[in-house]
């Protein structure tokens, strides 16, 4: 039992969130982009009297309903489970600060799922115009879910100045709009809306690739080319919104991008630069792949080709979201809470009275469920395990290999002092706790790094 600290061996809890989240984003962004794709396509089919399109669209809306309503919803709940376990303090902060936002979001979700079902089940049962109207309402509500979640996600990197000034007063939620409509809000909304349209095009290519290019050639060609066109806005506007977004990133965090230019060390600090390279490569090539696979020869598009494009979308989404997450280092909410859940305004108290004494999740108490664990191990679980594993992802054993107890103690002291010139300061939280606790962590780490010598 590893409650309340979520120990995921080798992979780490962060990767668990990442895997679930990337799948979710691929589907949830399709839920928004597909919401626009469906009524736009239906309107075009009605206008041009294309019965062949209407027939395919009905099948498409079933595919859309199952994918977004089942897998999208399941992975969405999965993210809540994962972040609740991996970062309870961060999750708690987001819930408490944005109660009203979450309430609106869940109302939107409910309406969205209901409308997706109504849209599918009313094909050929209600007047075409009314059916199309339902589609447009779905599109608006679905985009509304993005409008809400975007405010909460961007808040984590660029919380508003008034909200930051209210931290610790107990009146933080009064500054909801300052926190919500923060500096990164608009460029991020633009980027995500473009990504939604692209993903709508890509998932549609997958669906229409199943049409027979010979017996159904004309329909396939027109629908494949129509789907391809949904990537054009991204291709043209993504660089503009991306540049705007980068401009809103605080200078300290933007500097993280430069850390990996001349080195790719085994540690953590070059990860953001490396993932940015992947994000740029995959985002820049995806439209070209669509052009060569689909636009120029639409009847020859096969499922394998469409899956290849989906793979590129997975790379682009995964790397971009990873960059967004890592740009916040060492914080989970910039300037307010570190990535291990320690609040900036708690540091002094933790250093004076002890981390384990003050931690909600790992209290020093005779009744603690994990009392059998040593102080050093609980320090590791509380302050290191959000980002490190023992062996595997960002492995502590490898990163500290070759160091003896004194040397490990020096590293921990540097982390604890968190001096302005410390090389770790840019991407790692300060180590908090009393001298005794830090010594216990040092000794525990020394045993882990060189078990044979102890």
């Amino acid at each position: 039992m590893n409650y309340p600290a979520w120990d995921v061996p080798y992979l780490g809890s962060g990767w668990m969130i990442g895997i679930v989240a990337i799948i979710h984003i691929l589907i949830s962004h399709f839920a928004v982009g597909g919401g626009i794709f469906l009524p736009l396509t239906e309107a075009k089919a009605l206008r041009e009297g294309r019965k062949d399109w209407m027939l395919r669209l009905k099948g498409y809306s079933k595919f859309f309903l199952v994918l977004t309503g089942v897998f999208g919803a399941m992975t969405g709940v999965g993210i809540w489970f994962a972040i609740g376990l991996a970062s309870p303090n961060g999750t708690s902060a987001l819930i408490h600060n944005f109660v009203f936002g979450w309430a609106i979001e869940w109302v939107f979700f409910l309406v969205e799922l209901t409308l997706a079902m109504v849209y599918y089940y009313t094909w050929d049962r209600i007047p075409a115009k009314l059916h199309l109207t339902i589609g447009w309402i779905y599109a608006a509500v679905s985009w509304g879910t993005l409008v809400i979640i975007n405010g909460i996600l961007t808040f984590k990197l660029t919380p508003g100045p008034e909200w930051m000034a209210s931290v610790g007063t107990g009146r933080e939620s009064e500054y909801f709009f300052d926190a919500f409509f923060n500096a990164g809000y608009l460029p991020s909304l633009g980027l995500r809306t473009l990504a939604c349209l692209s993903l709508a095009g890509i998932w549609s290519l997958y669906f229409f690739s199943r049409l027979d290019g010979e017996s159904d050639g004309k329909t396939k060609a027109s629908m494949v080319q129509w789907s391809s066109m949904f990537l054009i806005p991204s291709f043209l506007l993504m660089p503009v919104f991306f540049a705007w977004y980068v401009f809103t990133i605080p200078a300290d965090h933007r500097a993280l991008l430069e850390l990996g230019i001349s080195s790719a060390s085994a540690g953590t600090f070059t990860h953001v630069t490396r993932m940015t390279i992947l994000s740029v490569v995959s985002s820049a090539t995806i439209a070209l792949a669509v052009m060569f696979f689909a636009w120029f020869q639409p009847t020859e598009l096969k499922r394998g080709h469409a899956l290849s494009i989906l793979f590129l979308a997975l790379l682009a989404t995964g790397s971009t979201e990873s960059v967004r997450e890592f740009l916040r280092k060492p914080f989970v909410v910039n300037g307010y809470m570190y990535s291990n859940g320690v609040r900036v305004n708690q540091i002094e108290g933790f250093n004076r009275d002890g981390y384990l004494t003050g931690s909600v999740w790992s209290p020093v108490s005779p009744d603690a469920a994990f009392h059998h664990k040593s102080v050093g191990e609980r320090m590791f679980q509380g302050q290191c395990m959000a980002c490190h594993t023992l062996d595997g992802y960002r492995p502590i054993r490898k990163l500290l290999a070759g160091r003896d107890t004194t040397s490990i103690g020096s590293v921990l002291k540097m982390l604890h002092d968190n001096a302005p010139e410390s090389p770790y300061r840019k991407f790692m939280p300060p180590l908090v706790g009393t001298e005794e606790e830090i010594r216990a962590l040092r000794d525990w780490l020394a045993v882990q790094v060189a078990p044979a010598s102890h």
């Binding site: 230019i261 001349s262 490569v281 090539t285 120029f296 590129l312 790379l315």
Partner: protein, 365 residues
Amino acid sequence: MPESLGPKVYSWLDERLGLSPILELALKKRVPDHKHSFWYYWGGITLFFFIVMCFTGVLLLLYYRPGDGAYESVQQINTQIKFGWLIRSIHSWSANLMVAAAFVHMFSTFFMKAYRAPREFLWWSGFGLLSLAMVFGFSGYLLPMDDLAYFATKVGLSIPAVMPVVGPWIADLVRGGPDITAYTISRFFALHVVILPALFIPLLLLHLGLVQQHGMSIPESEQQKPEAERKSIPFFPNFVFKDLAVWLVALNVLALLAVAFPWPLGPAADPLAPAPADIHPEWYFMSSFQILKAFGGWFPGVVGEFLGIAFFNAGVVLWALVPLFDPNTKSGQWGRRVTWFGFVVLAVLIVTTIWGYAVLPAVAH
């Protein structure tokens, strides 16, 4: 097509370069389209990784210094030159991916019987290219001169040394002396950037020319169909566009590997230090490495090593001469036997490679 390029520019170029016949050939040429068409792209993927490797290799040449300062220069590339680590990582990953793609290409052409008449020289030129690619890999492995490269090369060169009569002479010639020194790096460097490209590029041009000469081979299942039922697509633009899209996918796979798993550089080689316990060659030599180790275990002494080399070389020679055993366009008994031989070779390669990695001792670097 010419009109869209700009008639004046096109006719100016055509007059001087003779573009029209090439364009006509490209427009007339067709590529078979069937359920096994997927395998046609692997030659192109191999070529793509080779091009990337050449480009990044030239960039690395700007900073790499063969000889005594080899390790320091790679360290400088990795830690001081802007995006040097990326170029090196792309170079190393594309080399490995090229060999992997070449293996897939070779086995797919084998099982599609694409070595049969009149394509025997395509098979032999391809076989030569893969062999040269592996020597490229072996020579490039030493160049950083870190500990694993040093000791792996030492072990690698001890293999030909056991061959009777010429073995020690060959090993000394390649090493530039009895030990691996700065001279060895210079020789490997010359091999890697001058001799091998000088052999590889003409052979590659011959291979590509033969593909144009004979066209894509059709698997037996397609050959049995009446001509009217066989499908094909135009080479230009349809196949070329698909090939370009596949190259883009390959580029992304390469980018993912190069940035997520940057190519490591170990500590500088120390000839006086004990060899690392987990010393091993690159994955594409692991099978031969393990076969030699196994024979060495079964038959102790020089006999084991010699038998191991003999067994492996016999397999390689048989593999190269396959077009001579199975020359007919229709599979008879020999055709089926050769197919089974292919499955056995594939199984031996996979099993011995996995076996080789499984018995490596776990060492933290």
